[in-house]
């Protein structure tokens, strides 16, 4: 119990240890998604294939 309380306190005070990785991961995933996004016009040519 004591351990969890201390861990909670650590998390509250040093957010960079968990918040930054979370943000970086989400940003990375979003960047990958955006960079591999199909052109907005692509669907219109699908009827040709």
């Amino acid at each position: 119990m004591e351990f969890l309380r201390e861990f909670w306190l650590f998390m509250r005070t040093r957010k960079r240890y968990w918040l930054y990785p979370l943000l970086i991961l989400l940003l990375l995933l979003s960047a990958l998604t955006i960079l591999t996004t199909g052109s907005a016009l692509a669907p219109f040519i699908y009827s040709l294939f």
Partner: protein, 637 residues
């Protein structure tokens, strides 16, 4: 204390991953998103698998644009003696604009079924319109565990503008490793959520304005012209090479035979979509004009070269460059279990002066029905050459035969015609639709029209066409539709039985036996067994008839005993086996004729009377049997 701090730091760093895992778990628990694996259980048929309707969503940024393919069921556990083929590729591979039995794999299926009547074939087409080598690779690598006996591939036209193509993907399109990573990540529901959120944001940011299709197309063309030899051009080829090479390597390691066809494009009857201006060597339009001049003057070799050059220089890369065919050739040379199917050569042999055009192709890349038959022929011949199914192809059916017999209905071919009219009316073809003829439309035209605009399904169209043919007493037409349905739904015994009975009415006994046997294989019924033994006795195949007669006698649904007939046929088989060792024995041929006559099998009786009279033209018993036969014939007339 210091130790504890380090522990907290480590745990804190792990926490985001745990949070993501938790979010993923919750999304799955509440049924958000889709499972993208290639096959799912067939809801209609226990023990069978079908292609997952969501499998393609992984390759499309906007999942609502994801194309859907065929749902061809196959057994979860491959039965002994079954030859299982998977087909991978794009719109040509799935038979656009005909689909269904117009597709090359159905032509091939039909021909293989008739070449090897005793074998079971499962040909599962996993192709989709608008996809390219990323999808072929993604689907292909999942096939290993499904015991393929061969994999057929026809792909390469969509490397630039298809889903994840270099011309249609924002920035990372040309980096296969990154694209594959993103495709892998899309399996996670969290990524699917992120994808949808970003799509929603894009929609809001664009203000939800709807642009006209025509304008969008023109803008796209201006944005995405890909000059011959440019970086983007090369990236497309490299992407194709990476994906196909990795797939061939994977299949090679498992010793799975792969047959890849080279690609065909319209050379002669399609002017370049977009050309560099002027009269330089780099102008596609200029090359095309010179090609036409050479063609008109009868300089076909020069014309062929210039038509091909015009295609290569076309800035709108809807037709695969020749470099793609070179990649295919190199793969076949590198991997021993990979075979190049030279469809291009087959098309050239069947085109005037060896130049591909409207004789085999509908527009830029899609074959017409004759073209699809040719494509299937190229694969059929390659399978034969590789002796993959059997060493001996003694019952082979010719290309002309398959063209004559293939159950393509008028609705199927008209659907292709109408679909083309609509396609060519728009960009980038911009061809005027021919004026509508002022006459009442035939039933076939009405059904094909309704099919094109998706008012009815193919199944409904076939059902209505069958009803129409039955109403107007067109048994040939009804048979063709029923055959078409049996090819589309190979696990429904009713269509085989119906095709068998319709064949019987048309006195096509061999064909009737083929269909009835298929029906009996799927579902043993008294009615099918009865039709089978009667027809087989008519065809003088008593040993085969006996199998079905025994079944019919054991499951007799009539008030007449079949036991006497069974005993007779057993004797007949014995006499016939003896007769086959001495075919000049008139006593035995008369015995066989009399036996058949006893059960009013005039066809069987006549055959043996003729044999007796050939050996002994004055044989009294044979002459008497002949007059009996004549009397029966006169009576029936």
């Amino acid at each position: 204390m210091k130790k504890r701090i380090w522990l907290f730091k480590g745990l804190a760093l792990l926490l985001p991953l745990l949070a993501l895992a938790l979010a993923e778990g919750l999304l799955r628990l509440f049924g958000y998103g889709h499972d993208y694996r290639l096959f799912v259980d067939d809801p209609q048929r226990k023990g069978y698998l079908i292609m997952n309707p969501h499998a393609s969503e992984r390759y499309f940024t906007e999942t609502e644009n994801a194309t859907v393919g065929n749902f061809e069921p196959f057994r979860q556990k491959k039965s002994e003696g079954t030859f299982r083929i998977f087909v991978l590729g794009e719109s040509t591979t799935i038979g656009y604009p005909y689909f269904h039995n117009g597709s090359f794999h159905r032509w091939l299926h039909y021909r293989l079924l008739h070449t090897f009547p005793g074998r079971n074939f499962e040909i599962i087409n996993l192709s989709l319109t608008a996809v390219n080598s990323y999808t072929v690779f993604g689907f292909g690598k999942q096939l290993i565990e499904y015991e393929p006996d061969a994999v057929l591939i026809y792909t390469g036209h969509n490397e630039y503008y298809g889903a994840m193509g270099v011309g249609s993907t924002s920035s990372l399109g040309g980096h296969p490793a990154l694209v594959r990573l993103v495709l892998k990540l899309r399996e996670f529901r969290l990524m699917q959520l992120l994808n949808r959120t970003l799509a929603g944001v894009r929609k809001i940011a664009s203000g939800g304005t709807v642009d006209l299709r025509e304008n969008l197309m023109k803008r796209m063309a201006a944005d995405q012209q890909i000059p011959y030899g440019s970086d983007t051009y090369q990236t497309g080829i490299d992407q194709f090479k990476t994906n196909l090479n990795d797939l061939c390597q994977l299949f090679s390691e498992r010793r799975i035979p792969v047959l890849i066809s080279n690609l065909v494009s319209n050379e002669k009857d399609l002017k370049p979509f977009i050309s560099a201006p002027g009269t330089t060597e780099k102008s596609a339009q200029y090359q095309y004009s010179l090609a036409n001049q050479a063609y008109t003057s009868g300089h076909f070799r020069e014309a062929k070269q210039r038509f091909s050059r015009a295609k290569e220089l076309d800035l709108l890369r809807f037709r695969a460059p020749e470099a793609i065919n070179q990649v295919i050739r190199a793969l076949a040379a590198h991997y021993p279990n990979v075979t190049e199917v030279d469809a291009k050569a087959v098309f050239e042999r069947n085109s005037p002066n060896g130049i591909l055009g409207k004789e085999t192709l509908l527009e830029h890349v899609h074959p017409n029905l004759y073209g699809y038959a040719l494509l299937s022929d190229a694969f059929y011949e390659a399978l034969k050459k590789k002796r993959l199914i059997a060493a001996d192809w003694k019952n082979e059916i010719s290309f002309d035969q398959v063209r004559k017999q293939m159950p393509i209905t008028p609705v199927d071919s008209l659907k292709g015609v109408f679909e083309m009219m609509i396609l060519k009316e728009g960009w980038p073809f911009n061809e005027r639709m021919p004026p509508e003829e002022k006459r009442a439309k035939t039933v076939e035209e009405q059904l094909a029209g309704a099919l094109v605009v998706k008012q009815i399904s193919w199944r409904d169209a076939m059902d209505q066409l069958l009803a129409h043919y039955q109403k107007v007493n067109n048994p040939q037409g009804a048979l063709r539709v029923t055959e078409a349905l049996s090819l589309e739904y190979p696990y429904e015994p009713g269509f085989y039985e119906q095709a068998g009975k319709l064949s019987l009415n048309l006195n096509q006994h061999e064909q009737a036996v083929w269909y009835l046997k298929k029906a009996f294989q799927l579902e043993e019924t008294f009615s099918t067994a009865q039709s089978l033994f009667i027809t087989l006795l008519k065809l003088d195949r008593p040993d085969e008839a006996l199998v079905y007669l025994r079944y019919a006698a054991a499951h007799n649904e009539t008030k007449f005993s079949l036991n006497e007939l069974q005993t007779f046929v057993e004797q007949l088989v014995a006499v016939k086996n003896r007769y086959l060792t001495d075919t000049t024995n008139v006593l035995m041929s008369n015995q066989l004729a009399a036996g058949y006559l006893k059960f009013a099998n005039t066809a069987g009786a006549a055959k043996y009377v003729a044999k007796s009279l050939r050996t002994d033209p004055r044989n009294a018993v044979a002459l008497q049997l002949k007059s009996q036969l004549q009397a029966i014939k006169n009576e029936s007339e």
